[in-house]
């Protein structure tokens, strides 16, 4: 236990020091982790023990990351991306495999060449996605292309896992068994194996689509947060286990689960619960990659390994450039695609290991290749930086798209609170083509509203991680319609601290609350009941015989006068605040002030209207 804690302490401390330092130098967090790994690794400080074990365990971060990526990809969006995924991704994997296997044929037999070609065709999902996220490139067209290729690569791992044992020429070292230990799927006949696999995928689908909702609702009703976290983790871990048992990639399984849950109201809650675990695991995974760099081998075989690294990056980027050309990508996008995926991936470690146990490749072949892959992964963030520098240099303005068409759906708006007021407000926005991300804390309320087709998510808005998951980082507007003043105040404070760019519009329960928000610097404030009071009053005036148009004008005049009086009353309220003992007295005193001002409202304006005198007079 003590040993474990010590190791953990070393990893965490290394990350805490290296990542901020790397960020400060503009290197990005991935590079920071990798450097931290090298430093605590066996060749510098030699602080850590079994790196391979750690790497194996923290690979789970990749699984979690794909779950999170899936959560952000609705099925409809995934369907839209089918052409780049199958086309670009397929082309990249096939061409790269051929381009690497062909020269290898000069030195190795065809089975070994093919194995190496396939394994090296894969890129690093972990490093690339993390870097794209950090640079805000995920939602851009080239970012989508990069993601499509990565997704296909993750899919391609499955047939590769099946294919590698068939390429064996030497004697198998292990027994080739890599099931989860629950039962061995390899023992089943082929048709049953396919059936079990399909059943597993079907199970994920049904669980995500129908089973998850009642479970999450029941958990949400308990309002015990860690149980929700536990359930979210159990979901991801459980699906990974299931996938491993049926011989599929856990990353792919959780990705699928993420996609199925992307439409769920618990999406943001899940996101914010899994995110920190993913971040930490992935960080430690990167550290272990850095630590696994075998410097003595690299030192001995410097020529061979640097040749391999250069060859790997050159071949991969060439093929990517070609794929970009074939799919008619713009020059800038093509360049990003070329740079982003020109490295080996973490799956290479797994697959090399597998090919060794199956007797496809030998240690002498694998060791320099693993080093080359690790170095190329280390270089990947550096290539991104290089790419940015080049882009900065010739940032020729590219032709702009149709800027005339204003896509209102592009507005990012968060609506906090979907009660009586929030509902109508949300309806208005949706009718204007703006689809807000709606957050509400009442699970049964969320459930009902979703049945009516609102995009509502469950969660406590005053939690920073949920706000983050809802997209507060790049949202432009937050609307607060929470009746509870304390909650609303907490939310405003939180946003002003963490998202100073975020505009805030809110409804306040009453006048006193409005004053508070004015003090906090909010300018768009509507009092919850004021407008309906005036609307009802306008109708009443008409019932009493006042002509419709005059009633409307009088109401509007009253509203304007009231709004003009607000700052003045605010001042009085502030200076007198200490004199009033109870809320009740405060309310009464304020009412008195109001009435006094009302009698002075200048109604002459109405009187003067349309009583034209004759110019001759």
């Amino acid at each position: 236990m003590e040993h474990f804690l010590l190791q953990l302490f070393i990893f965490l401390t290394a990350a805490t020091i290296a990542v901020p330092a790397a960020k400060k130098l503009g290197l990005g967090s991935v590079l920071g982790y990798l450097i931290a790994g090298i430093i605590i690794g066996p060749y510098v400080l030699s602080l850590i023990g079994d790196i391979e074990e750690v790497m194996h365990f923290t690979e789970f971060g990749v699984v979690m990351m794909l779950f999170l990526v899936g959560l952000e990809l609705k099925p409809s969006l995934l369907w839209q991306m089918r052409v780049p995924i199958l086309g670009m991704g397929g082309l990249q994997v096939v061409l790269t495999t051929i381009a690497i296997a062909a020269p290898a044929l000069f030195f190795l037999n065809w089975q070994q060449s093919l194995a190496i070609g396939m394994i090296l065709a894969l890129s690093s999902t972990a490093i690339v996605l993390q870097t794209l996220r950090e640079k805000g490139l995920m939602d851009t067209p080239p970012g989508r292309s990069v993601f499509s290729v990565l997704l296909f690569q993750d899919l391609a791992v499955i047939p590769m896992l099946a294919l590698l044992p068939l390429l064996a020429t030497g004697a198998a070292h292990g027994d080739g068994h890599h099931g989860g230990g629950l039962f061995d799927i390899q023992a089943l006949p082929t048709y049953l194996r396919i059936l079990v696999t399909l059943l597993a995928i079907g199970f994920i689908f049904v669980l995500g689509k129908y089973g998850s909702r009642p479970i999450f609702r029941a958990i949400a009703a308990t309002r015990v947060r860690e149980i929700f976290v536990a359930a979210a983790l159990a979901l991801v871990v459980g699906i990974s286990l299931l996938m491993t048992v049926v011989g599929l990639s856990p990353a792919l399984g959780t990705f699928l689960a993420g996609v199925v849950l992307a439409n769920s109201e618990y999406r943001h809650e899940l996101e914010s619960d899994i995110e920190p675990f993913k971040g930490l695991l992935l960080g430690i995974f990167f550290i272990s990659i850095g630590a696994s760099l075998n410097f003595s081998l690299i030192g001995n075989e410097i020529a061979l390994i640097s040749g391999l690294v250069i060859g790997l990056i050159a071949i991969k980027s060439l093929i990517l450039y070609l794929v970009g050309l074939i799919f008619k990508m713009a020059q800038k996008e093509r360049r990003l695609l070329t740079v982003a995926l020109a490295q080996g991936g973490e799956f290479a470690f797994v697959l090399f290991q597998l090919s060794k146990t199956n007797g496809v490749l030998t240690d002498e072949l694998i060791d320099p290749l693993i080093s080359a892959v690790a170095i190329s992964m280390f270089l990947a963030p550096l290539l991104f930086i290089l790419h940015e520098k080049i882009l900065d240099r010739d940032s020729a303005p590219e032709e702009q798209g149709d800027s005339d068409v204003i896509d209102r759906s592009g507005h990012k708006v968060i609506l906090a609170g979907f009660g009586r007021l929030g509902t109508d407000l949300g309806r208005l926005l949706i009718s204007a083509g703006i689809r807000p991300v709606i957050l509400d804390h009442d699970a049964s309320n969320v459930d009902v509203l979703r049945r009516f087709g609102f995009e509502v998510y469950y969660g406590d808005v005053t939690r920073l991680d949920l706000l983050e998951a809802a997209g507060a980082g790049d949202a432009e507007l937050l609307i607060i319609t929470i009746g509870n003043v304390d909650k609303a105040r907490a939310l405003v404070t939180l946003c002003q601290k963490h998202y100073p760019h975020l505009q805030i519009a809110l409804s306040s329960a009453d006048r006193a609350a409005a004053y508070e928000f004015i003090d906090m610097g909010i300018t768009v404030i509507k009092r919850e009941t004021f407008d309906s009071a005036l609307a009802l009053g306008c109708d009443v005036l008409q019932l009493l015989g006042m002509p419709t148009y005059e009633a409307h004008r009088l109401t509007r005049l009253f509203r304007r006068k009231d709004e003009e009086m607000l700052p003045e009353l605010h001042k009085i309220f502030k200076s007198d605040r200490d004199h009033y003992v109870s809320m009740y007295q405060k309310h009464n005193a304020e009412l008195e002030e109001l009435m006094l001002l009302d009698t002075n409202v200048d109604m002459e304006e109405i009187e003067r209207a349309w009583t034209a005198g004759n110019p001759e007079e």
Partner: protein, 202 residues
């Protein structure tokens, strides 16, 4: 019998005497629809479909209003801007209003002598209504001179108010019953210049 639509526009009906008297004089007449624009659309949000249906259902359209700044109250401009759509009111396909009669029934502060080239207002009422006449022309409406009650800025004696109101009722009824001599009246400055000579007895 023709159907008559009176589009009534007075923003401060509570302070009006002449317009109110005229409106009351035609209220409840068979075949006459009075549609109060300011009370229907206090927020100026005009229901275009409804207005177009109303127009289609009637044969004569009358704008009744006080003469503000040599023109109509603003809601009538809003009405024209929104209701007279291309393809409905005008354009090669826009024939919804074709052949319908159209006129203004207006009240003005200055009297007839001020609405002349040499008068205080420089132009005649007919000249000042030119934009409306051109609009009517574009929409293939048949223009009639305005029913005008002038010189009301000091207020009129009750008797005169009653007589104007009853004349208004006579003109509207005659239009409805097709007893108005449209040939003669279209040469007159006002519909009510000489009522007995333009209204045929049944």
């Amino acid at each position: 019998m023709k159907k008559i639509l009176i589009l009534f526009a007075h923003p401060a009906i509570a302070r009006s005497t002449m317009n109110r008297a005229m409106k009351e004089a035609v209220a409840g007449l068979d075949g006459v629809t009075i549609h109060d624009l300011y009370s229907s659309y206090p927020d100026f949000y005009i229901d275009v479909g409804y207005e177009q249906r109303l127009c289609e259902e009637h044969d004569v359209i009358i704008f009744q209003h006080p003469f503000y700044w040599y023109s109509t109250p603003s809601i009538i401009k809003e009405w024209l801007d929104l209701v007279l759509q291309h393809g409905w009111a005008y354009g090669s396909e826009g024939r919804a209003l074709e052949g319908k009669h159209y006129c203004h029934a207006l009240t003005a502060g200055g009297d007839d002598t001020t609405y002349r080239g040499q008068g205080a207002n420089l132009f005649t009422i007919g000249e000042l209504l030119a934009p409306y006449r051109a609009t009517a022309n574009l929409c293939r409406l048949r223009w009639l001179p305005p029913f005008a009650v002038l010189g009301i800025h000091r207020g009129l004696p009750d008797q005169l108010i009653r007589s104007h109101a009853s004349n208004y009722r006579r003109v509207v009824t005659a239009l409805r019953d097709e007893q108005l001599d449209l040939q003669t009246v279209s040469d007159a400055a006002y519909l009510n210049s000489n009522l007995s000579s333009v209204i045929r007895q049944p």
